[in-house]
Amino acid sequence: MTFFQADGLSIHFGGIKAVDNVNFTIEKGEIFTIIGPNGAGKTTIFNLVSRIYEPTMGRLVFQDQDITQVPAHKVASLGIARTFQNIELFEHASVLHNLLIGRHCHRKSNLLSEILFLPSTKRLELEHREKVEEVIDFLDLAVYRDQMIANLPYGVRKVVELGRALCIEPTLLLLDEPSSGLNVEETQDMAFWIEDIKNDLGITVLMVEHDMSLVSQVSDRVLALNYGRVLAEGAPREVQENAEVVRAYLGG
């Protein structure tokens, strides 16, 4: 069975081939990292996988199911969660509220029962809350639970966003530059969490990352991109030593 496969994935914006015939497969339970210089098409691949962009060509397969035609709001309920490079939290809401929105794809109540707040709705809300509390425990967010996002420092917001994605209870987690904007210590925490997510929660991770020490610390396999095309694929060490990858980063 194929866990995740991108098959001939391409997207063209006018004459620019942002992603051009990219193929890769992700095995269940691994951490798969996409690296590449700025503008290589890494985030574009993320937006294709989370169905925000429409691919020009190619196919996306997730757990033996073609998801190329699935609408963006259905992706979460399939078990694919994501974070954003520049943090897309709901700013005028508390941490708890943000995490509860992560439970939205597991919503079972209907509009009428919500307006009347029937006992069944209350019970479902409490179940969501328990799941959210597990994530809060896992990521050590208890101190920030009732704080507004707008009042939180950048590093904490990054963790909250990771938490919100975990509340979806995904099988595939997309992390768009989890360490961007974090200091050395926070990056190290993030590395531990990513490993815990893989080992303890059994979630497969697809990650875009610039910080090479983080990449080699946690990744099982690495895919290097440049100008929307694949340069190399393999273990972190091999890819970093690949001549073409070095040329793409350093020029020459």
């Binding site: 937006n47 520049n86 929105i101 509390e133």
Partner: protein, 358 residues
Amino acid sequence: MRFIFKTRYEQDLNIARHGGDWFWYGLLLVLMVLAPLVLDLFYIGELTLVLIYAIAGVGLMLLVGYTGLVSLGHAAFLGIGAYTNAYFLGQGWPFLITFPLSGIVAALAGIAIGVPTLRMTGLYLAIATLAFSIIVEKVFSHWSSVTGGFDGLPVDAPDLFGYELWEPWQLYYIALVVLVLVLWGSANLLRSPTGRAMVAVRDSEVSAQSMGVNLAWTKTIAFAVSAGITGLAGALFGHFVQHLAPDSFAILLSIQLLLLVVVGGVGSLHGAIYGAIFVGALPQLIAIARDYLPPAVSQIPGLEPGLFGVILVLFIIFEPFGIYGRWRKVKLYFDLFPLYKKATFKRQKAYLKTERLR
């Protein structure tokens, strides 16, 4: 300052957070119930109008304050509710059917305007809803067989269990009950998944989508619920004025409702109530002020809409969170006294907001 010791998750779900809430809201409700016994007719009428504004305000607040969609056409939903109620009462239907029906018809109209404008936000949505409101106003004046055209439509008294309720205090109690129910329903909606989805759509559409929120569905529901509640307010408004004319539901009323939401405090149900008090009291204050102003100033035509506009602008610049936001600051000042810091409510600058997906 009150610190709440939380031992169960239910405590975060309750509408009243602690005993103090029960006491103060209960006291307010008791005062509202007793008010008609001591007030004279004029003030009962004014309070009824404030209640009706508050109901419409809650409806608009759900759309503007919680879903982040601006509407300049809510007078149309108010009108649709009022005409639906008045027409079917005139056909001899009982109030207990025509009243909910007015909300349902307005909600359907809300879906009708909501669906084609799904991809619009901000200014464009405001213009689209404004156009809708103008069209509806024209329909009111030309569909004479139903609306009575320019002659207007007399509104029968609401009837409950065979009694006709003509007295102002009876309408006051109807409006009070409806407001309490609407507030309860809205608070319920906001603490459940749909309400959270609305807030998510307001703050970031792209990540709401990735969380599994169906944008089209959420926006349509927001429009429907908002229009429905406003339609209920419209039905009561019809009973308040007792005679409907197409120009009762013109653009100025829409602006008044938007003013209500912004001045009261965007993004809180309390704000809708504060805003309703403000919008209800403002024309009276202007009328009183006219007596003291030199004739050259007080005779200026359009003084009232002009002042509405000025106040709206001043609030947007100096107190974007409205009266409720100011109240929270004052409350915190006394809670923390003498440790209040000026910077408490200063927004932290958000860095790295470039390349946002829109």
